[in-house]
C-alpha cells in the first residue's frame, strides 16, 4: 500500500512534467535568442520525469521501510479521518474568507474568520475566544491599516465608521 502511494506521487510528478513540457511547445521563438523561452522548461520537465522514475525504483527497493513509516504515523483510524476533516474545514473557511473579504470588508470578514476558525480548531475558553478574536482583528487593523498604510478592503462596517 505505501509503495502504491509512492508510485501515485511519482505519477503525479510525471503527469505535471509532461503537461509542462507539452505547454512549452507553444511558446514562440526568436532568432536573436538561441535558446528561446521553451528550452529551460523542457529541460526541467525532463529532469523531473527522470527523478520521478528514479523515485519509483528507489521506493520499490525501500518498500519495507515505507511500511514501517506508515505504521509509525501517530494518526490512525478515526483520528486520521477527523484530522483530514479539520484540514478540509480550514481550507473551506479560508476560501470563504478570501471570497467574502472584498464585499464584507476587512473587519467583519476577519472577525468572522477568526471566530469560526478558532471554534473549528477547538475553543479552550469562551473568554479567550472573545479576547483573541477581537484582539487579533484590531491589532492587525492597527498594524497594517494605520501604521503601515495598507489599503485594507472596505465594507459596510468601515463605511459606517468613516461616515
Amino acid at each position: 500500500m505505501p509503495l502504491l502511494k509512492e508510485i501515485i506521487v511519482a505519477l503525479v510528478v510525471i503527469l505535471f512534467s509532461a503537461w509542462y513540457y507539452w505547454q512549452a511547445g507553444f511558446l514562440p521563438t526568436q532568432a536573436a535568442d538561441p535558446l528561446g523561452p521553451a528550452a529551460l522548461p523542457r529541460f526541467l520537465a525532463v529532469g523531473m520525469i527522470i527523478f520521478a522514475l528514479a523515485h519509483i525504483v528507489v521506493s520499490y527497493f525501500r518498500r519495507k521501510r515505507l511500511e514501517e513509516d506508515e505504521e509509525a504515523d501517530p494518526l490512525q483510524g478515526a483520528a486520521r479521518m477527523q484530522g483530514n476533516l479539520r484540514i478540509l474545514g480550514v481550507a473551506v473557511l479560508t476560501g470563504a474568507y478570501i471570497l467574502f473579504m472584498m464585499p464584507l470588508g476587512y473587519t467583519l470578514s476577519t472577525f468572522a474568520y477568526l471566530l469560526l476558525l478558532t471554534i473549528l480548531l477547538g475553543v479552550p475558553s469562551i473568554r479567550g475566544l472573545a479576547i483573541s478574536t477581537v484582539g487579533v482583528t484590531i491589532s492587525l487593523l492597527l498594524l497594517f491599516g494605520k501604521f503601515l498604510g495598507v489599503l485594507l478592503p472596505v465594507g459596510f462596517v468601515e463605511q459606517l465608521i468613516l461616515h
Binding site: 509542462y20 528507489v58 525501500r62 519495507k64 503601515l148
Partner: protein, 509 residues
C-alpha cells in the same frame, strides 16, 4: 580616512541622529516580522517622512530600518515558521525546530547575536573594501552569475534531509515556478493561463508564506498535537551561553564572508547568501545529521549571512550608483531625494553623509542587538498561547500580510494554493525549502544562461574558459558529490560498527 571617520562619527552620534536610528531599527524589526512587509517595503513606507530631515539623519534612519528588518524577519521565521522576508527562509529549517523543542529564546538569541556580528563585519568590509569589493563584483558577467546561481542550487542536496531524489524534484519544481510569467527576453507570456496577475510571475512572498506557514497550520490542524504550550518557560526564555556563541564563531565568521561577497554582487542578495551559508555550514560541520533538527549552526549560518549582506549591498550603490537590492534601490531614491548623486564623487563631495552612514550602520547593529534583547522575552511568551488561538491568528496574519504586498486578493489565493501544495509536499517528504530556493534562483539561472549563450553564439565553452565561472562550476560539482560521498562514508562506518551479518532495515540501498 580617519578624519572622515571622525566626521562621520560626529554626524551619527548627534542626539537626533541616534534617536532616529533607534526608531528606524525598531520600525524595521516590526516591518520585517510581518509577512509581506520586507525590509525594502518598510524603508519605502518611511521614505516620505525623511523628506524634512537633514540628508545624514534621513540616510541613517533608512539604514536602521534595513538593518532591523533582517532580524525582524527571522523572529516570525523562528516562532511561527513564517519568514517575514525571503532572506530568512533558510532560518526556518532549524530555527522553527529549535522553537518547537522549547528553546525559543536560544534560537532567537543565536539569530540576534550572529546577525549582529555579521552586520558589524559587513560594515567593516564596506568601510575598508567598498571599492575593491565593487571591482570583484563587476568581474562577474552572465557566465559567472549563472555559475553562482547554479552553485546556489546545489544547496538543494543539503535541504532535502537525505531524500535527495525528492529534494531535486522539489528544486526543479521551484525552477519551473520561476518560469511563470513574462519571458525576460522574448516578452511572451508563459504558463500564466491568461491571468493578468501572473504576468509578472508568482509573488515570491505569497509562495513562501503558503509553502511554509499555511502548510504548517494545516499539518498542525490535522494532528492538533504538533505544538504544545511550552511548560518550561525557563528553558523557553534561556538565551544562548557565551560558550555556545564562542563555539559558533568559526561558522559566524565564514558566513559573514559569504554574506559580504554575495551582498556586493548586484542582484544576488540576502536570500542566496543565507542558503549558500546554510549549505556550507552543513557541509563542513562535524555533525551534519543534526541540521534540520534544531541545530544552532543551522540558525547561525543563514542569520549571519543575511545580516552580512546589509552593508556590503551598499558598496555598489555608493561606489557606482548601482543599487544591488531592493533596499539599496530605496536608499538610492533617498539619496537622490536629498540631492545626492551616488558614485565615486560622493565620497569626495559628501564624506559627512558617506562616513555618517558607515558609523550609523555600526550604531544600528548595536541598536538591533539592544532592542532584540529587550523584545525577545515578550516574543517568546506571545507565541506561548493555546494552539487554536495561535493557529487562527497566524492564518489571519499571513492572509493580511500577503494581501498587503500588492493589495491583491490574488496573492492571497496563491498563498493558499501553495499552502495546500506545501502540505502535500511535507506529507510526502518533499522539500518546500528547496522549492523556494528554485523559485528564488530561477530568474538568475535562466536569464544568465540565455545571455551567456547569446554572447558565445551557443558556445557552451564560455562557462569553462572564464576562470571565475570555471571555479564556481567545480565548486558545484564538489557540492553535489560531497553529500553522497559523506553518506556513503557514514554508511560504511555504521556497517563496520555492527556485528557481521546484521544489516539494518532499510539500509539495503
Amino acid at each position: 580616512m580617519l578624519d572622515n571617520f571622525i566626521m562621520g562619527a560626529q554626524v551619527a552620534f548627534q542626539p537626533m541622529s541616534l534617536l532616529f536610528i533607534v526608531f528606524g531599527v525598531f520600525w524595521g524589526i516590526i516591518g520585517g516580522a510581518l509577512p509581506g512587509i520586507t525590509g525594502s517595503i518598510s524603508m519605502a513606507l518611511l521614505l516620505p517622512f525623511t523628506w524634512g530631515m537633514s540628508p545624514d539623519i534621513a540616510i541613517n534612519t533608512l539604514a536602521g530600518v534595513y538593518v532591523g528588518a533582517q532580524y525582524g524577519s527571522s523572529i516570525t521565521a523562528i516562532l511561527i515558521r513564517t519568514p517575514g522576508a525571503p532572506a530568512s527562509a533558510a532560518t526556518v529549517l532549524d530555527g522553527y525546530t529549535m522553537h518547537k523543542n522549547g528553546e525559543s529564546a536560544r534560537a532567537l538569541g543565536i539569530s540576534l547575536w550572529c546577525g549582529t556580528i555579521g552586520g558589524l563585519l559587513s560594515v567593516v568590509a564596506l568601510i575598508l573594501l567598498a571599492l575593491p569589493l565593487v571591482e570583484v563584483a563587476l568581474a562577474f558577467g552572465p557566465p559567472e552569475y549563472f555559475a553562482t546561481a547554479l552553485f546556489g542550487l546545489t544547496v538543494v542536496a543539503s535541504l532535502s534531509g537525505g531524500n535527495y531524489i525528492r529534494g531535486f524534484i522539489s528544486g526543479l519544481f521551484g525552477l519551473a515556478l520561476a518560469t511563470v510569467g513574462m519571458d525576460p527576453f522574448v516578452g511572451s507570456s508563459r504558463f500564466d493561463f491568461g491571468e493578468v496577475n501572473m504576468l509578472g510571475g508568482l509573488e515570491l512572498i505569497a509562495v513562501m508564506v503558503g509553502l511554509f506557514a499555511v502548510s504548517e497550520v494545516l499539518v498542525q490542524a490535522r494532528s492538533m498535537s504538533g505544538w504544545e504550550k511550552i511548560k518550561d518557560t525557563k528553558l523557553a526564555t534561556k538565551m544562548p551561553s557565551m560558550a555556545e556563541m564562542k563555539g559558533l564563531m568559526p561558522i559566524t565568521l565564514a558566513s559573514s564572508v559569504i554574506g559580504i561577497v554575495v551582498g556586493a554582487m548586484p542582484g544576488a542578495g540576502a536570500t542566496i547568501a543565507s542558503f549558500i551559508a546554510y549549505a556550507e555550514a552543513k557541509r563542513w560541520s562535524k555533525h551534519p545529521e543534526e541540521f534540520g533538527k534544531g541545530c544552532a549552526e543551522g540558525i547561525a549560518a543563514p542569520e549571519t549571512a543575511n545580516n552580512a549582506v546589509t552593508a556590503s549591498a551598499f558598496a555598489p550603490l555608493l561606489a557606482l550608483g548601482i543599487p544591488g537590492s531592493g533596499g539599496a534601490a530605496i536608499m538610492l531614491g533617498a539619496l537622490m531625494l536629498h540631492g545626492l548623486r551616488p558614485g565615486p564623487m560622493l565620497f569626495a563631495d559628501h564624506p559627512d553623509v558617506v562616513y555618517g552612514l558607515f558609523v550609523g550602520m555600526f550604531i544600528a547593529n548595536f541598536a538591533m542587538l539592544g532592542l532584540g534583547i529587550l523584545t525577545l522575552q515578550a516574543a517568546c511568551r506571545i507565541v506561548n498561547v493555546p494552539q487554536p488561538y495561535l493557529l487562527a491568528a497566524i492564518m489571519a496574519l499571513v492572509t493580511i500580510g500577503t494581501y498587503s504586498i500588492n493589495n491583491s486578493i490574488f496573492d492571497v489565493l496563491v498563498a493558499m494554493v501553495f499552502g495546500v501544495v506545501g502540505y502535500f509536499m511535507t506529507r510526502y517528504n518533499f522539500s518546500p525549502p528547496a522549492t523556494v530556493l528554485g523559485l528564488v534562483l530561477g530568474f538568475l539561472v535562466e536569464t544568465n544562461l540565455r545571455r551567456s549563450l547569446m554572447i558565445s553564439d551557443i558556445g557552451w565553452g564560455i562557462f569553462f574558459t572564464r576562470p571565475i565561472s570555471l571555479v564556481m562550476l567545480m565548486l558545484c560539482f564538489v557540492s553535489l558529490v560531497f553529500p553522497f560521498y559523506r553518506d556513503f562514508r557514514d554508511r560504511g562506518k555504521k556497517k563496520s560498527d555492527l556485528k557481521p551479518g546484521v544489516v539494518p532495515a532499510g539500509e539495503l540501498l
